[in-house]
Each structure stands twice: as structure tokens, then as C-alpha cells.
């Protein structure tokens, strides 16, 4: 499992393309929104938590079709099914690799983008905390969606259609935690709920992901 994780990380780092693109996308979203809604601090600050969460969500989503597609093309995925490693563990490794390469960099740069969107300073640590607590759910749900659509030729639009409704609870709680922090309220409750969704996803979704992979590779 660690070998698989290690392999995926090295592929993401060395093969180029994958690693920086999600970050670049996130930066562009955070730049374009003020250009669209206007530079006024009074309109930007209240919407900043939502924009930063939506940007992270879309950045995760756009990198999902890569999770299994390349492995399917070169046959790695077919090799994983009869391997001694349970497919559930392989699914976990895949999701973890996606989280480390796509979501974690987003968490790191998010406070900087919060500065661009004039998010109040007291909300910065909570923004990072909420993203840290919520992005595992995004990666694990997304890996499930990628497993559902791995056999399809043009699956990326369908993938968004399937995955985005599943992102709703994470988005609601995660963005609410940041919004509360920005208004000076206690963000602990939505933050804990975000973390709860992530932990539930990490624990249970690999089983669904593995089931979907087995069906698609039959």
C-alpha cells in the first residue's frame, strides 16, 4: 500500500503536469472572482469563505479524472485487482495520493489567497483548519466518483455531475466554519462536523470505491 502511495507521489512529482495545475487553477479562481464581483472590500470579505471553499472544491474535482485514468490506460489497474493487496487498500492509497498531491497544497496556499480576498485576519487559521479537516472528504468522495466512471470514454462531465452533489455537506459545514470565524463567532461546531464527514468518508468509502472498480474491471 505504501509502495503504491509512494509510486503515485513520485509520478505526480516527476511526470509533471498534475502537481501544479490544481494550485494554478485555485489561484486563478481567487483572482477572477474579484474581477467579476468588484474590488470592494465590503462585498469581498463576506463572500471570501465561500469562494475559497468553492475554488478548492473545483480544483479537487478537475484533477479527479486522472486518479484512475492513466493507470487504466497502461494496465496498472488490471494488475491491482488480482494483487495480494486488497483493492480497498489500493483505493485508500489512491485517494491518499490525490489528497497529498492536490488538496494539501491548496490548504497551504489558502490563507494567502484569503489575504487577496480580504478575509479577516482572525479567520485565517480557521480557514486552513477547515480545509485541512474537509479536503480528505473531497479526495475520498472524488476517488469513489472516479472509480464509478473509470470505464467511460468521456466521463469527466458525468464525473462532476455525480461528485458535486456528494460534496454538499462538506461544503456547507466547511464554509460555515470559516464564515463563523470571520464574524467572530465560535467555529468549533461546524469544524468538528466537517472533520466527522472526512473521517466517515476515509473509513467507509474505500469499500464502495473498490466495489465500483471491481465492477468496471470485470
Amino acid at each position: 500500500m505504501l509502495t503504491l502511495l509512494h509510486r503515485d507521489l513520485r509520478l505526480a512529482l516527476r511526470a509533471g503536469g498534475g502537481f501544479g495545475q490544481a494550485l494554478g487553477f485555485y489561484l486563478i479562481v481567487a483572482t477572477l472572482v474579484p474581477l467579476g464581483v468588484g474590488p470592494d472590500r465590503a462585498t469581498l470579505a463576506p463572500t471570501a469563505p465561500g469562494i475559497l471553499w468553492l475554488g478548492a472544491l473545483l480544483a479537487c474535482l478537475l484533477s479527479l479524472d486522472r486518479v484512475f485514468a492513466l493507470d487504466r490506460e497502461d494496465g496498472t489497474l488490471d494488475g491491482l485487482v488480482p494483487a495480494p493487496l486488497p483493492l480497498e487498500a489500493a483505493a485508500t492509497a489512491k485517494a491518499a495520493a490525490h489528497w497529498l498531491t492536490t488538496a494539501l497544497p491548496l490548504v497551504v496556499v489558502a490563507p494567502g489567497l484569503g489575504l487577496l480576498l480580504s478575509l479577516p485576519a482572525q479567520a485565517m487559521p480557521w480557514l486552513a483548519a477547515a480545509l485541512l479537516a474537509g479536503t480528505p472528504a473531497l479526495s475520498w468522495i472524488g476517488t469513489f466518483g472516479a472509480a464509478l466512471t473509470v470505464g467511460l470514454k468521456r466521463g469527466s462531465l458525468l464525473l462532476s455531475l455525480l461528485v458535486l452533489p456528494l460534496y454538499v455537506p462538506t461544503l456547507v459545514f466547511g464554509a460555515d466554519a470559516v464564515r463563523r470565524a470571520a464574524q467572530g463567532l465560535d467555529p468549533a461546531q461546524p469544524l468538528l462536523l466537517t472533520a466527522a464527514i472526512s473521517l466517515g468518508c476515509v473509513a467507509l468509502l474505500p469499500f464502495a470505491t473498490a466495489a465500483a472498480l471491481r465492477i468496471n474491471l470485470r
Binding site: P165, F173, I215, N216, R218
Partner: protein, 249 residues
């Protein structure tokens, strides 16, 4: 033969066709009778509400469609479980048949709610928890139908949509509570429930129960009809395949 064997025997497509063929005219009849009587009674022969005026009468469409919209998903969940556990094809086809009906009911509930909301709340749409969860439910239906359409192999499609339905159900419930957490409600409480102290007044209540039964029968009739069509499509495909195999090369 034990009772459970006797129940599962209806999952045989041949027996299902016979049984559903026998039920279908009665379901259509019950739907037509209840909807005809209930809607005419409700629209023409109930008094206007003293505050809401005649706009109250949309309740005879709004409440039953919303009721069916939620329960259609439950029916799909059950059918998906039966398919995953017992591999009865009729079950998977019934889940597939129910999804578009459920989507139409969801949209109908949203639309009637919007039409009523404009004069009453002063807006077609508000980000109220119930409205939001219904919109999300509609998205779940759309994703489910899209996955059915996208996968070519019928068995793989049945398997994948069943897994999606199971996972989606968990997230649909989560979204419902998330939406409640997220915003205060504008929507009133349940119109009908068995344990509530105060329900809708009797004059409105009686035709409402009739239309509920009517929409329920309509749902059963539509799902049976669509499942029968799906089974016939499958039969046609296998007949064609057999004819191709037997044809001289």
C-alpha cells in the same frame, strides 16, 4: 415452499410480467379515480383559506408530489439493495424505471412550491432547508439517471448505479441535515403526520388523502409500466442476438 420463496418467485421476469400485467389496469384505474375525484373535490368544492385565498389549493398537487419524490428514492434504494444481494434483474430494472418518475415528481413539487411561494412568501425561491434539500435531491436523481445512460453494459450499469444509490442515500440524508444547520427555515412544518397535534383542517385533509393515494397509485402504475417496457426491450435484444447467431453466415 416457504413464504419468502413464494415472494421471491415474483422476481422471475415471466411471473413478474403476469402479475404486473394483472395489477396494472387496477393501478391506472385507482390513480384515475382518486386523482379525478380528489383534485376536482379539492379544487372546486373546498372553501378558500381565510388568509391564503384560493392559492391554498395547490396543496393537492404539492404535498403528494413531494411525498412521492422522497419515497421514490427509498424505493430505488430498496430495489438496488435487492439487486446487489439477490441479483434479480427485475429489481434493477424497477430502480431504473423509478428514477425519471421521481425526478419529475421532485421538479413538480419544486415548481408548485414556487408558484405558491410567490403570492405567499413574496418570492419564488428562498434558500430554505427544505427547498434546498429538494433541489439537491433533484441533482441526485439527475446524476443517477446520467450514470444509467452512460454505462453500456447493462449489468455493470445496474451494479454501478446501485452502489451510487447506496452512497448517494447517505449523502442525501447528510445534505438534508447540513441544509437545516446552514439556514433558518421559511417552510412550514409537515402538513400531515400521524402523531402531530395539529394538522391541516378536515375540509382540506380529506381530498388531500385522496390525491395522496392517487399519486401513489400513479407512481406504481408508471413504474410497473416502465419496468415492463424495460423487460420487453431486454427480450427484444436477446431475440435479435439469437437471430443473428442462428442466421447463416
Amino acid at each position: 415452499m416457504s413464504l419468502s420463496d413464494r415472494i421471491w418467485a415474483w422476481a422471475n421476469p415471466r411471473k413478474f410480467m403476469a402479475l404486473s400485467g394483472a395489477i396494472l389496469p387496477w393501478a391506472w384505474g385507482l390513480a384515475a379515480l382518486c386523482l379525478g375525484v380528489g383534485l376536482i373535490w379539492g379544487f372546486a368544492f373546498t372553501p378558500d383559506d381565510f388568509r391564503m385565498g384560493s392559492s391554498v389549493k395547490i396543496i393537492y398537487v404539492h404535498v403528494p408530489t413531494a411525498f412521492i419524490a422522497i419515497n421514490a428514492w427509498f424505493m430505488m434504494l430498496l430495489a438496488s439493495l435487492v439487486w446487489l444481494v439477490r441479483r434479480h434483474h427485475v429489481s434493477a430494472l424497477a430502480a431504473r424505471a423509478a428514477a425519471p418518475v421521481g425526478l419529475v415528481m421532485t421538479v413538480a413539487a419544486l415548481a408548485t412550491g414556487a408558484i405558491w411561494g410567490k403570492p405567499m412568501w413574496g418570492t419564488y425561491w428562498a434558500w430554505d432547508p427544505r427547498l434546498t434539500s429538494f433541489l439537491i435531491l433533484a441533482l441526485f436523481y439527475v446524476g443517477y439517471i446520467a450514470l444509467w445512460e452512460a454505462v453500456e453494459s447493462p449489468d455493470a450499469a445496474a451494479d454501478l448505479t446501485s452502489v451510487l444509490c447506496l452512497v448517494g442515500s447517505v449523502f442525501a440524508v447528510l445534505s438534508r441535515y447540513a441544509a437545516q444547520f446552514w439556514n433558518q427555515g421559511l417552510h412550514q412544518g409537515a402538513s400531515l403526520s400521524l402523531d402531530a397535534e395539529e394538522n391541516v383542517a378536515d375540509v382540506f385533509w380529506q381530498p388531500l388523502v385522496l390525491t395522496l393515494v392517487g399519486f401513489g397509485a400513479l407512481f406504481v402504475a408508471l413504474v410497473l409500466q416502465r419496468t415492463r417496457t424495460e423487460i420487453r426491450v431486454r427480450r427484444l435484444h436477446s431475440l435479435k442476438a439469437r437471430a443473428r447467431a442462428e442466421a447463416p453466415a
